[in-house]
């Protein structure tokens, strides 16, 4: 697969150069204004503002208006509504992977396969913004890991080792609890934070059942009936039943979770590594105390990282300034833009642009993360990047399982049901 990808990338680079030469002939005479729609996460806004500022300085004839929208489900809603009514604007930021597949890229986006900068993009990212054999996006911000953020100081104080199996993890939790600290932080007020035990366990699922993603997409494998896949739900229920959660898990927010972790009040927070940005803003002193490990499974030898791809930047095919928009996207996909993002929000993980490099002294979380990527077979993309099927209600289901409202088996079965509607909506074969 990798070889095939490489050839494709090389090919597209060649084609792109020729095309670029043709396009750049008639210069953009008058000033154009582009709109850029992004989510309102402070990291996204800070990084985008910095990049856009530099872009406008370099291209005085192009003005970029940043417009923000809410993130999460509300954001999906707005993006879909705007796309279907032709009001998305020129350039927009949206998830890669299964959510990208759900917004019908062939119909709404400009094909960027032939852009010269694609040669500098990691094939692993190109994969998750490809539909019908064409590449539609450029990466914005960095790859992430889904696993456990932990307080290194607390680990050192209690003499704990990073767990490689679920049993070790639970043993650590017991000791942390005995020491009067919160072993596992959960923050169900922000429901999306509840999904990590299930989604972040996918490396372990595919290690046990290598064909799961494929079978799952084809409606042959189910979470409820695949023991390895059910594990994530069970783990979520385990930590609740053992009384390892913070007392206010139902009302705590993502912010609260990070604060508890940074202050050492809590030891583990299952989360995506992009949280580093928020820690850097709110508790810059704590960054050196926070480490990261992948969610442990049953087999220490097969432990690895479930990786998330960053969102993509796309051009709407309703845009009247495609040339200017392409310039902006090309700039975002450049090394210069990576450096600007690092300057704005710090290094949070590996970039998907090949020529981008991280600064030498990265926070421990990032080096922990990088170690998985560097190890052969140490990381695998999350399910949503290898299958277009993702049910919309997972976060509510994991909240219920994680609060003891619903059993893991019922939760998994409910999620299988939830997924069905979405697969039918996509018109996938076999559903």
């Amino acid at each position: 697969m990798t070889a095939h990808r490489m050839r494709l990338a090389a090919l597209s680079a060649g084609a792109g150069l020729a095309l670029a030469a043709m396009v750049s002939g008639p210069a953009l005479a008058e000033e154009v204004t582009l709109s850029l729609l992004i989510d309102n996460g402070p990291q996204t806004v800070a990084a985008a503002e910095k990049v856009v500022e530099a872009f406008m300085a370099a291209n005085p004839d192009i003005k970029v208006d940043i417009e923000t929208r809410p993130g999460g489900g509300d954001g999906d809603n707005i993006v879909k509504t705007r796309l279907s009514t032709g009001e998305i604007g020129d350039v927009f930021l949206y998830n890669s992977g299964s959510l990208f597949q759900q917004i019908n890229p062939q119909k709404y986006m400009v094909d960027l396969t032939a852009e010269p900068w694609q040669a500098d993009i990691q094939p692993s990212f190109q994969n998750v913004v490809t539909a019908g054999g064409k590449v539609y996006g450029a990466p914005f911000q960095t790859a992430m890991g889904g696993g456990v953020l932990y307080n290194k100081k607390l680990y050192a104080d209690l003499g704990l080792q990073v767990p490689k199996t679920w049993a070790e993890f639970m043993a650590n939790n017991e000791k942390i609890k005995a020491a009067g600290k919160v072993p596992v932080i959960q923050t169900f007020k922000d429901t999306w934070t509840s999904q990590l035990f299930v989604l972040g366990d996918f490396f372990n699922v595919q290690a046990a059942v290598p064909t799961f993603a494929e079978d799952y997409t084809a409606n042959k494998a189910k979470f409820a009936t695949t023991p390895a896949a059910l594990k994530g739900f069970e783990h979520q229920a385990d930590v609740f039943k053992a009384g390892y959660l913070n007392k206010d898990f139902g009302a705590a927010t993502f912010d609260d979770g990070l604060r508890m972790l940074a202050s050492g009040e809590g030891a583990h927070y299952p989360m995506l590594t992009f949280a580093l940005g928020a820690i850097q803003t709110a508790n810059p002193d704590a960054v050196k105390d926070i480490g990261f490990f992948a969610l442990p499974g049953d087999d220490a030898a097969k432990n690895g990282l479930t990786a998330w791809m960053p969102p993509g930047i796309y051009i709407s095919n309703e845009s009247e300034h495609v040339d200017a928009a392409k310039k902006l996207v090309a700039f975002i996909a450049s090394k210069e833009a990576c450096d600007l993002q690092t300057a704005a929000v710090g290094a949070t993980g590996p970039y998907l642009v090949k020529s981008c490099a991280l600064p030498a002294d990265v926070p421990p979380m990032v080096s922990d993360l990088q170690a998985y990527f560097d190890k052969q077979g140490g990381a695998a993309p999350a399910l949503e990047f290898v299958s277009p099927v993702k049910g919309p209600s997972l976060e509510q289901i994991t909240v219920e399982v994680g609060s003891g409202i619903r059993s893991p088996a019922e939760g998994a079965a409910l999620y299988d049901e939830d997924v069905k509607k979405q697969a039918q909506q996509l018109g996938l074969p076999g559903w």
Binding site: Q102, K107, F188, D248, A251, E417
Partner: protein, 303 residues
């Protein structure tokens, strides 16, 4: 009033017939009808078609009544239905009771009456989203003001919004907090309009305060009650903003109401399904409100 209307009956009749044609022209409907038809009726009717399709916004495949079947199979629909009814009944019931009591209180001769009227009414004016955010913070199970105050007097408060048993009712209480001012004002208007003679007659008959309330205020404030019930019932059945900003239907699905189930379907991109849900919601609310409003209309005619 009755005697006045009865005496010049014949002359008035003729005037009335001419009047109906010339001074109550049907074109008065027109401007409102145009706006309403174009921006509400037409899109709504158009959407009914999509409730019969699998609709991805870019294309619609006709699938007959499948969406309705699917919607009724939604695992959370039954719970959503029950929650919707509980929410509507609790909020409108409390608004009637509290609104009436406050209405009586605030029409009696008490100190600081103007201040109290203002303060009760003020939440009506504040943004729902703002109220939702504020009370979410106040109802935090450990750090929230409510439970900290309870802890100070030795009571361990519940997880208002995080305990599945309380979440829906907590939101309903906030809804009442925000909406009781309007009910109160409607009641004040109703109570003030009750002629003094009735109370004086009741006093002469030796009725106590409670009897006066029961035999005079309550029956004669009935139009106000009907208005409060209808308005809060419709509001309660359709309620969405507050629930969404406080619990998003959670924890899990436990405080989902029909409107939030529909919204989540829409959010997930199941447009046909969510439109079918709208139709179901319409039928449900109509089934409850039409009989009630018929009662209201009959009373009007009777008078």
């Amino acid at each position: 009033m009755t005697s006045l209307a009865a005496s010049p009956a014949i002359g008035a009749d003729r005037v009335r017939r001419r009047a109906v044609r010339t001074v109550y022209p049907n074109w008065f409907y027109l401007p409102a009808a145009v706006i309403y038809a174009v921006l509400f009726l037409f899109p709504t009717v158009a959407s009914l078609f999509f409730s019969l399709t699998r609709w991805t916004l870019s294309e619609a495949t006709f699938i007959g009544l499948d969406n309705f079947r699917q919607f009724f199979r939604e695992p959370f629909l039954i719970q959503g239905l029950v929650n919707t009814l509980i929410y509507a009944v609790v909020t409108s019931g409390l608004k009637v009771v509290l609104g009436l009591l406050l209405g009586v209180l605030l029409t009696s001769e008490i100190i600081a009456r103007d201040y109290l009227r203002s303060v009760v009414f003020f939440p009506v004016l504040v943004s729902t989203v703002g109220v939702g955010i504020t009370f979410t913070v106040l109802m935090h199970p450990t750090g929230g003001l409510i439970n900290q105050s309870l802890a100070a007097i030795g009571i361990e408060g519940p997880g208002w919004l995080t305990d599945p048993r309380f979440a829906l009712l907590s939101v309903a209480l906030v809804d009442v907090w925000k909406g009781v001012g309007l009910a109160t004002v409607i009641y004040i208007a109703g109570i003030v309009s009750i002629p003094r003679d009735y109370y004086e007659a009741a006093l002469i008959d030796g009725a106590g305060a409670l009897q006066r309330f029961w035999n005079v205020t309550l029956p004669l404030a009935r139009p106000a009650t009907v208005t409060v019930v209808i308005l809060s019932l419709i509001g309660g059945l359709r309620s969405f903003d507050l629930i969404w900003s406080m619990t998003r239907g959670g924890p899990g699905f436990t405080s989902d109401v029909i409107a939030s189930v529909i919204y989540k379907q829409y959010q997930a991109g199941f447009y046909g399904l969510s439109t079918a849900g709208n139709v179901v919601l319409f039928v449900l609310v109509a089934l409850m409100v039409v009989p009630l409003s018929a009662v209201l209309n009959r009373r009007e005619v009777a008078r």
